[in-house]
Symmetry: C2
Subunit: 285 residues, 2 copies
């Protein structure tokens, strides 16, 4: 039996209560519920402005476990790809301003109107290569988030942890006998990777230097919507405690970030949601 998690590692991804609160309310709520970490999406950050958000986050002593999200590199033409890269550079700046531990990257899917998966994957690699120097100079690690294969077409064509690690190794080669630089790594989201038969090996392959973020929620049976029917920890089939053990066995000591995109939970009182998030984090993850 694996041990219960450290409650101090809990972090709130703003997607979890995005329909109920703005970022200022979420920052206050984290303090109220003794949640020590937060991970804003950029739409919420934009409402408040990065500088003001940073001030409030610091004033409440919160850790910023990540900024969600950069990525979305594939585009139909060079101008579109350039615009995506520019947007990512701004996201890196925002991540630096708020002291985020990483910029989470949802890399983007196939260019609409095409069937060119290989081409999309090449655009992702090129986009990552284009933003890595600025990320490195800014001290903002890039966390490639492999998304569940059901999002391959329209959200992210990086769909396994091994595939994300292949990109890391290509863009940030590890000198023989040395450790990865830490400039690029992965965000492991339980929802996206739990099914993968290669997962234990891939987490071991990542090692602590590439494990930049750890997100949790649960896979419901049945799942009624591809995007907005994610479950509260404990309500689904993912063995979250075993998964955390794999990540922590590599030395990961970062946040356990709760990210639940769910029309169901968005209808609930957000204080009630956060109480349950705290309880389920301890009991079911």
């Amino acid at each position: 039996m694996n041990a219960a998690p450290d409650p101090a590692r809990l972090s709130l991804n703003t997607a979890t209560v995005r329909e109920q609160w703005n970022l200022a309310q979420m920052i206050d709520a984290c303090a109220r519920h003794e949640i020590r970490g937060i991970s804003p999406w950029r739409d919420k950050l934009a409402e408040l402005g990065a500088a003001e958000a940073a001030r409030r986050i610091r004033a409440n002593g919160l850790t910023v476990s990540g900024l969600c999200r950069g990525g979305m590199f594939p585009a139909a033409d060079a101008a579109g790809r350039r615009a995506a890269i520019d947007d990512n550079l701004r996201a890196i700046d925002d991540a630096a301003t708020i002291g985020a531990r990483c910029l989470v990257l949802v890399v983007g899917g196939i260019v609409p109107g095409t069937r060119d998966l290989e081409g999309a994957r090449a655009m992702v690699r090129d986009g990552l290569a284009a933003i890595l120097p600025h990320a490195r100079a800014s001290g903002v690690p890039l966390a490639i988030e492999p998304l569940h294969p059901m999002y391959c077409a329209d959200r992210a064509c990086v769909n396994t942890l091994d595939q994300a690690l292949d990109l890391c190794d290509e863009l940030d080669p590890v000198p023989s006998g040395d450790r990865p630089s830490g400039a690029i790594g992965v965000a492991v989201d339980a929802y996206h990777v739990w099914w993968d038969p290669r997962l234990p090996r891939a987490i071991a392959r990542a090692g602590v230097a590439r494990l930049l973020a750890y997100h949790i929620c649960d896979w419901l049976v049945p799942t009624t919507d591809l995007l907005l029917d994610r479950g509260m920890m404990g309500d689904g089939v993912i063995d979250l405690r075993a998964l955390r053990a794999l990540v922590e066995a590599q030395g990961y000591r970062g946040a356990h970030e709760v990210e639940i995109l769910s029309t169901r939970w968005w209808k609930r009182d957000p204080d009630e949601v956060l109480r349950l998030v705290r309880e389920r984090h301890l009991r079911c993850s």
Copy 2:
């Protein structure tokens, strides 16, 4: 540019028009539309009886590209697992009766009420091992169908082609320098595997001796239902022609079986559906 497919390889999986027709009607329709192959699901076969179905299929000169489906091995207790195995043995007999080229296996998901993915995968391996001797003796190859990871929890915990091939290699080891026996292999369904970054390597690894079936349909954007929103070839994002080229490059010369589970297509006139299936098979696959 890859060549158009051989129209003689088109096969109709009965799921495609299951809400409109019974098996007898489908057999007649295949003859009428010059579709040379058929692959019945067991519910349709049961309506007619395997012996009578076999007679009608032979009378119309159809190839049976597979019987759908065995599998569903995981169960809460030994009696449940035994019942699943017995059901698979009967499916093997039915497959032999109708001269099916293989028995397609949807292996089953996690035992309800548990989070034991590893346990489910072990039950699948044990179930396959239990039925393989009867399949071998009956001359019915077992085709493990890796299902899309979004079905991992409730339908199939074998989710990549490599994972299916690992099972094949474990249960039917290939003597050094020899070829696989042909008793067990895989069903490659475009819908389930198209996203896999390892797919080209895995198809090459399978080789012709393990490639027992090839199913096609398309992945729609957006996909509005996890199970019943599969697309007609050409309506989605899968590069079916490139995928077929990979399979045929290994020497696969079996059927191109069209299996579209879709509430949308089930509402249409089935003769119209089959006309479009023929046209799209040629033009978009």
